[in-house]
Symmetry: D2
Subunit: 346 residues, 4 copies
Amino acid sequence: MIKAGIIGSTGYAGVELVRLLTQHPEAEIKWYGSRSYIDKKYYEVFANLFQIVDDKCLDDNMEELAEAVDVIFTATPQGLCASLVSEEILKKVKLIDLSADFRIQDAAVYEQWYGIKHPCPQYIPEAVYGLCEINRERVKGARIVANPGCYPTCTTLSIYPLLKEGLIEGNTIIVDAKSGTSGAGRGAKVNNLYCEVNENIKAYGVATHRHTPEIEEQLGYAAGEEIRINFTPHLVPMNRGILITAYASLKKPVTYEEVKAVYDRYYADEVFVRVLDRDVCPETRWVEGSNYVDVNFKIDERTNRIIMMGSMDNLVKGAAGQAVQNMNLLFGLDETTGLLQVPMFP
Amino acid sequence: MIKAGIIGSTGYAGVELVRLLTQHPEAEIKWYGSRSYIDKKYYEVFANLFQIVDDKCLDDNMEELAEAVDVIFTATPQGLCASLVSEEILKKVKLIDLSADFRIQDAAVYEQWYGIKHPCPQYIPEAVYGLCEINRERVKGARIVANPGCYPTCTTLSIYPLLKEGLIEGNTIIVDAKSGTSGAGRGAKVNNLYCEVNENIKAYGVATHRHTPEIEEQLGYAAGEEIRINFTPHLVPMNRGILITAYASLKKPVTYEEVKAVYDRYYADEVFVRVLDRDVCPETRWVEGSNYVDVNFKIDERTNRIIMMGSMDNLVKGAAGQAVQNMNLLFGLDETTGLLQVPMFP
Amino acid sequence: MIKAGIIGSTGYAGVELVRLLTQHPEAEIKWYGSRSYIDKKYYEVFANLFQIVDDKCLDDNMEELAEAVDVIFTATPQGLCASLVSEEILKKVKLIDLSADFRIQDAAVYEQWYGIKHPCPQYIPEAVYGLCEINRERVKGARIVANPGCYPTCTTLSIYPLLKEGLIEGNTIIVDAKSGTSGAGRGAKVNNLYCEVNENIKAYGVATHRHTPEIEEQLGYAAGEEIRINFTPHLVPMNRGILITAYASLKKPVTYEEVKAVYDRYYADEVFVRVLDRDVCPETRWVEGSNYVDVNFKIDERTNRIIMMGSMDNLVKGAAGQAVQNMNLLFGLDETTGLLQVPMFP
Amino acid sequence: MIKAGIIGSTGYAGVELVRLLTQHPEAEIKWYGSRSYIDKKYYEVFANLFQIVDDKCLDDNMEELAEAVDVIFTATPQGLCASLVSEEILKKVKLIDLSADFRIQDAAVYEQWYGIKHPCPQYIPEAVYGLCEINRERVKGARIVANPGCYPTCTTLSIYPLLKEGLIEGNTIIVDAKSGTSGAGRGAKVNNLYCEVNENIKAYGVATHRHTPEIEEQLGYAAGEEIRINFTPHLVPMNRGILITAYASLKKPVTYEEVKAVYDRYYADEVFVRVLDRDVCPETRWVEGSNYVDVNFKIDERTNRIIMMGSMDNLVKGAAGQAVQNMNLLFGLDETTGLLQVPMFP
């Protein structure tokens, strides 16, 4: 059994990690970290786990934690994970960071978009960006896995094949994204109150959202050149789910069959990426609670553009599920272990 | 492997059965019945099952079905299941009926409340009311299991111990129930459109709801005498979940500890009934997607009444989950097999 | 023009007062009090008022305020309004208090349920409970109007006629209430976050909710004797609306027509109370954004009980609308002035 | 008093017309047309109008209707209004058509996108596209007003000034739109059931939505040349509201101040178009229930694109409100008469 510890276990990504790991046949949680609820029973915070988890929440103590577990998940605000890393820690445990600290290879870009100084830039180069479908082999040997952001996961998987195959113009990419409210976190903010979010849709972080450079970096690897995109996230009155609608100009006319063949070539063997049938649009309800990403596309001959779409559960494939997928890779398990939940509808 | 067939597989209870059975280690679905979608791929109706279920929907054919499977689940409107039963069928397969056809022992009561003639009253006596926690042993040997209604399940489990122990006056019981909208079914009705249900709460079926006699019958068994209750269901703008708030006069003053001890005595060994800690109210979010029923109570000395509360996922413990629990009993499996999903929050 | 000031203008009741008063033909707001947003433009807090209200939020200053306006609305937490009252203030302005400070005639009861010491019990006797339909004449001459609580308004108007006419047993009354989330206020609390409220229903304050003694006092006036009830509020995932479902034993058998005649006798001339047609249940969607209370009832001969139902917009008739109705009475205007908005659906 | 008739009064646009017209000081409804509810009291369909409207629903009878009223609103499916028009009718009444029949000047384009033959193409040339802010003067003298579609209204008002001023490249425009579910109509379809829409977001009509040519025609007038855009609508789990997020390449570098000055020049005197303050994004909650359109923009120097945003209530400015605005123009009233409702929040 893999012994796991979670720092930040009482946020939405944290409780989703708990849901997945308590059902994982090869893992057990040994440490429920939570600064806000120290000494409180975990089930008193999340009553869904009543009579399932009996542990108490613990304060952060990296040394003790590193002794107690094989892998640490950090589901914490930016900057925290990076501040805890050291050679000593990395000798003892694997680190899967759900924050952005190790996602961007250029520390200067990180510092510019996140507005904080990176605490340990020396560890960035060895961290592996844990988008399993693309970096599978590199993840297996990593000490630090940078678990991808929710929007970057959905966006990259939706666009990657076409960019890699040179079918679309990189600098024409526009990503219009929509997310459920769990993506905004569990902090007590007026903006996230029920009455403020319900019956509303809004864009936020327009032209300034921090996932922009992360997406650009990953798409840049696919294109083999620097890429600048527009990325606009929106807040949707629902709990879970991300939908991205991406637009790009085609480099040359292509048929439906040609593009479909490209997607199939990349994803036919990928359990968690489902290329939908012709004219079926991804919808967040069909992936809720699961690790699937549904992708599809539509060619618009009138404008010579292609519309690429992807849907995903932001807390599963966009956070905790992908983290477990990375854990499976790190410990030599079948990548799908504990992750084959059928999406729940309605 | 238990071979299962579902008649009515494209309603909300049907698709929940599919979700649970496709993840069940000892069962496989051999028949996806659906009159509305004959010959359509099941995943075209419910895209959450894309690349998971590849079967087509089939028309009803009871003879063929009885040959093909070990157990038939009927998730259909009242009257249909009863019209299909025959000695020949029952010799070949077990029947788990999610409709009301076999729930009420007195056919006259059934006919009065449901307004239809019962097609096969002769089979009612042998049908076992599949509230596993109460009728476990009888279920094991049944040919027909009458899977309980959603409201009756939640209500009976919340009230049963106190009535059985003679702590409350049976005829003072008032049950105020609240249900998510999946309980209203998947029929295309104006009343169930998004804009009609959203931002609204209403009572319906006041003093006339068909679950009333079913609840009264079950509570009557506990009390050892006929009981008349008030039952008022309400429609809540959410997908899943039932909450019942029940009121009754205490026969004599009791302490919190005395009542708690009664609940614990009945449910300490029941995996799926969780008696919450003092002053913690059941909430539907904590059981979503799971087979749990959370119950608790509050004594009001001012009025000498006790308030009993229960929450449950109407599609799981209130329909498909309990049906699988009954299947497990029928086939000698551990009762919790395939049913230990951790509730999903948020 | 009546000059109005609002203390606590940036809560949900506050912004609803602003919505109603800016459209009121005989009133104008001269003071937007808000400790949390001092010096901020009001429309920066509530952008619906962009280009409609250009004022800034002001700190509390009772002396200045009393000079500037004719009437003060206090939409603030318990205890604040009472702490501001003085003979000097009352000589200058009318006071309409949306908090509970002056609703309960017995200060000891107030202090017991609210857990705070009443700052000025000497003013309680002269305060008039502003349930206009019942205390209309007394409101007209008041200096202090205690604007009723949301649950008490809906409950009292639904039950009052039957109790007053002696048709029901007072001590059998059970009120099961359901409220939208705006009733929980605009404070930044985890419990009121979107993801915590959405897809959930729960009871709260079971047997301890502070509106209980307020309801009991008002019902007691109707009955002419002390009454003890059960009152259980529930939180519903919607913005606005209160529905109450109340149960009581009938003193003697009555017909539908007899009960209907009683309701009609009390409410035929009341613009804001609509007695629905037979078998039509009140629903919150039909009163949203308006000052109407919809009431109806159902007799259950089986249990000799009557089910009384009422629906209302908690922010209008349950708070700001009723406050404006009281203002109209205080200043000799037609009671419906500025309050005839047609409910908005969907 | 203007006498108004509504054909199709029991859809969502219809009931919104009723809400607005019953509160309009210069209009009264004389005809509630509804084929589905003939002879039923209007308030039995929409109980918000109980004790406000006492009329019955009537079958369509164009001749009688034309005698009875001064203006007819058609809130019906495509093709119906056009089939009713004749010289005789137009001599007697003004026609405000909320369907698409007269929005597109080229009947061939209409027939291609809508898939039906236009019943009376000869009347298209004289119909005026009722986007009041742009075609105000022409509307005043019209016999037929083509009330604009919801998406085209919000899109055109958000983009028009920049295109007209030559700041953006017309053929780079991409419009990503999001709508509440009332836009899908009140037909009883499985796809619009509560449980299908709730907790979901999806794109629909990708590259094929019928509002595309309408938007292109209007933007073409602004640009002075043919324009091809991408338009992708999405369905959002909320009742009301449209948000559009539009992207276009800038023809040359511009500053915030320059662009703001353009918007202000076009809209400073427009009551119903509110150009928001810098960095404030339009949100649907701030316009709910009102006739306002909130617009704003953000320049992204990194990609040389501008993001234009607009929010609106689809049933008010996107349908019934704009129709009333057109009626006001047709009958020489102040354009804002009956339309100054303050947006309702929450």
